[in-house]
C-alpha cells in the first residue's frame, strides 16, 4: 500500500475549495491551513502561461521531518502516510525546520499539525476531503502499489512533476502538467 495524490494542473482553477474543505473537515483553526494554493505566471502579455497548484504535505518516502523528530511523534503510518501523534509531540519545531515545503505548523494548542491525507476518512473508504470537494475533479487519490489504480494509470500516461525534487524527499503528491 503506497498512498499518493495526483493533481491535474490543467484543470485546477485555484478556487481554494480544497483549503476550506480541509478546514471544516479537520477543524483547522482559522488563520492556519494544512493545504494552500499557489499561482505561477510566466511570459509576457498576451503570451502568458498560468499554473495553479493545490499544495500540502507530500507524505515523502524519504521524510526528513520523521528522521529529525526526537520523540517519534512524527512517524510514517500504514500506506506511507506521514502523521504526528499529538501527545508525543513536544513542540520542538525540528520537523518544521526540516520540511522543504513548510507543510507543517504549530497548532495553537502547541503540538505540530499538518495534512494527514485524511486517514480518518481513508479508514472509512472515503477519499480525502479536499479530493472529494474539488469542483474541477482535478485531484486523484489512490494506491501506487496497485498498477491498475487511477493514480498509477495517470502517472503512466501523463507528464508529471513533484515539488522541489532537489530537496531529495521523494514526495507522494504529483502534479500532472501535460
Amino acid at each position: 500500500m503506497r498512498y499518493a495524490m495526483v493533481i491535474d494542473t490543467l484543470k485546477c482553477v485555484g478556487c481554494s475549495d480544497c483549503v476550506v474543505a480541509c478546514q471544516t473537515e479537520n477543524n483547522v483553526p482559522l488563520g492556519y491551513c494544512r493545504d494552500w494554493v499557489t499561482e505561477t505566471v510566466d511570459g509576457a502579455y498576451p503570451k502568458v502561461e498560468l499554473e495553479l497548484k493545490s499544495e500540502r504535505c507530500n507524505h515523502c518516502d524519504n521524510a526528513p521531518c520523521v528522521r529529525c523528530c526526537p520523540t517519534g511523534a512524527s512517524h510514517i503510518a500504514e500506506g506511507g502516510i506521514v502523521l504526528v501523534t499529538e501527545d508525543e509531540c513536544i513542540g520542538c519545531g525540528a520537523c518544521i525546520e526540516s520540511c522543504p515545503y513548510d507543510a507543517r505548523y504549530q497548532h495553537p494548542d502547541g503540538y505540530v499539525d499538518k495534512c494527514t491525507f485524511c486517514h480518518h476518512r481513508l479508514e472509512k473508504g472515503q477519499n480525502p476531503a479536499c479530493v472529494e470537494v474539488c469542483p474541477t475533479k482535478c485531484m486523484y487519490f489512490g494506491d501506487l502499489d496497485d498498477p491498475t489504480s487511477e493514480v498509477s494509470e495517470l502517472l503512466k500516461t501523463r507528464k508529471h512533476k513533484v515539488l522541489a525534487p532537489e530537496a531529495g524527499t521523494s514526495p507522494n503528491v504529483y502534479y500532472l502538467i501535460k
Binding site: V37, T40, P64, P70, I90, C92, I96
Partner: protein, 319 residues
C-alpha cells in the same frame, strides 16, 4: 515577467513570510552547549595530561561554568518548546537519526557528570564557603561520596573527552542536518561549531586563570582554534559558492544581505580577528588585559549562533 504567489491559505504564524520557529533560546542553547563542551574538554584533557596543578583554572575553577551553562541551556531549550507538558517524551526513546534526540541524551549524561566533577573539587576550591556551610559536617556520607569521586576522577575525565566532543559537534549538526535550510545544510557546520565551542571554552578559562604558563598555553591553543575557525568559515562559503542556486541565495544573506553587517563586524572582525591580534600581542609580551579578547570571543560566539539560527530560517527551497 515571472510571478509566484499564494492564491490562498499560507499566512501561517511563525512560518510565513519566513520561518521564525526557533528564537534566541535556541541560539543561546547552542552557544552554552558549545561553551560547556569546550570547557569540559580542556578540563578532562589537562587532567589526564596530569597538568592538574600547573593549570588550576582549567581543571578546577573554570569548570564550574559548565554545569551552570548546561542547565541554563536546557532551560532555554525547554522554554522554546511549544508543547512543554510533553517534554518528558524526549526521554521515552532514543532516535539515532534525530540530533535533537541524542543531543538531549548526551546532555542528560554530561550535565550530572560535570556537576560531580565540580563537586569533587568543591572543598579544595571553595574552602571558605564550606567553612560557612559546614555541609560535610552535617551530612557525613558526603565524605565517603567525595572520596569515591576523587578516586574516580580519571574515569570521569575519560568519559568527558568523547562526551564533550559529541556535545560540541552536536550543536552544529543540529542545524546542518536540515536539508531544507540551504544555509545550514553543509558538512562544515559540525566541525565549525565544535571549534567555536572549544575557542569560547578556552576564552572562558582565560577569565579564570592566574598563572602565566596556563594563560599563554591556553592563548596559544585559542589562536590555533581561531585560525581553524576562520579557515572553516572560508571553506563553508567556498562550498556554498560551488553549490546549488538555493545555496548561493543562502550565502547572499551573509555576504550581501540582511545579516552581512552583523556577521562580518561582530562575528568575523570583533569576534575572531581582533581577539586573535590581541592574544598574539599578549603572547609576544605586550600588556593586554586578557579579559578583552576573552569577552570578545564569548560575545562573538553567541552572536555567531544568533546569526546562523536566524539567517538559516530565512532560507528555503520554495516560495
Amino acid at each position: 515577467m515571472q510571478e509566484e504567489i499564494f492564491v490562498s491559505g499560507r499566512h501561517l504564524p511563525k512560518i510565513d513570510p519566513n520561518l521564525e520557529i526557533w528564537h534566541w533560546e535556541i541560539s543561546l542553547y547552542l552557544f552554552l552547549g558549545g561553551l560547556a563542551a569546550g570547557i569540559l574538554f580542556f578540563t578532562a584533557l589537562f587532567y589526564l595530561l596530569k597538568k592538574e596543578n600547573e593549570m588550576q583554572a582549567t581543571v578546577k575553577y573554570a569548570t564550574i561554568i559548565a554545569p551552570i551553562a548546561l542547565i541554563v541551556g536546557l532551560a532555554a531549550l525547554f522554554f522554546d518548546l511549544s508543547h512543554k507538558l510533553y517534554f518528558w517524551q524526549l526521554y521515552t526513546t532514543v532516535r539515532i537519526t534525530s540530533p535533537m534526540s541524542w543531543g538531549a541524551w548526551v546532555l542528560l549524561i554530561i550535565t550530572p557528570l560535570s556537576i560531580l566533577w565540580v563537586f569533587s573539587y568543591y572543598r579544595e576550591t571553595y574552602p571558605k564557603l564550606e567553612a560557612k556551610l559546614q555541609t560535610f559536617k552535617r551530612l557525613k556520607f558526603l565524605n565517603t561520596f567525595e572520596k569515591f569521586l576523587i578516586k574516580n576522577r580519571k574515569t570521569m575525565a575519560i568519559a568527558l573527552i568523547p562526551l564533550s566532543l559529541i556535545l560540541g559537534i552536536y550543536t552544529g549538526i543540529l542545524l546542518s542536518a536540515f536539508n531544507a535550510r540551504p544555509l545550514w545544510n553543509n558538512s562544515i557546520l559540525g566541525p565549525l561549531f565544535l571549534t567555536s565551542g572549544l575557542s569560547t571554552g578556552a576564552a572562558a578559562i582565560l577569565l579564570f586563570t592566574k598563572s602565566h604558563f596556563e594563560r599563554t598555553l591556553i592563548s596559544k591553543i585559542d589562536l590555533a582554534l581561531i585560525f581553524i575557525e576562520l579557515a572553516l568559515i572560508v571553506h563553508m562559503f567556498m562550498g556554498m559558492y560551488a553549490g546549488s542556486q538555493v545555496q548561493l541565495e543562502a550565502m547572499q544573506i551573509l555576504i550581501g544581505g540582511s545579516y552581512t553587517v552583523m556577521f562580518f563586524v561582530f562575528v568575523i572582525i570583533l569576534g575572531l580577528i581582533v581577539p586573535f591580534v590581541l592574544e598574539l600581542t599578549e603572547i609576544l609580551g605586550f600588556k593586554v588585559p586578557i579579559i578583552a579578547p576573552a569577552m570578545l570571543i564569548l560575545i562573538g560566539g553567541l552572536i555567531f549562533r544568533i546569526v546562523m539560527v536566524n539567517a538559516g530560517q530565512l532560507t528555503r527551497y520554495l516560495y
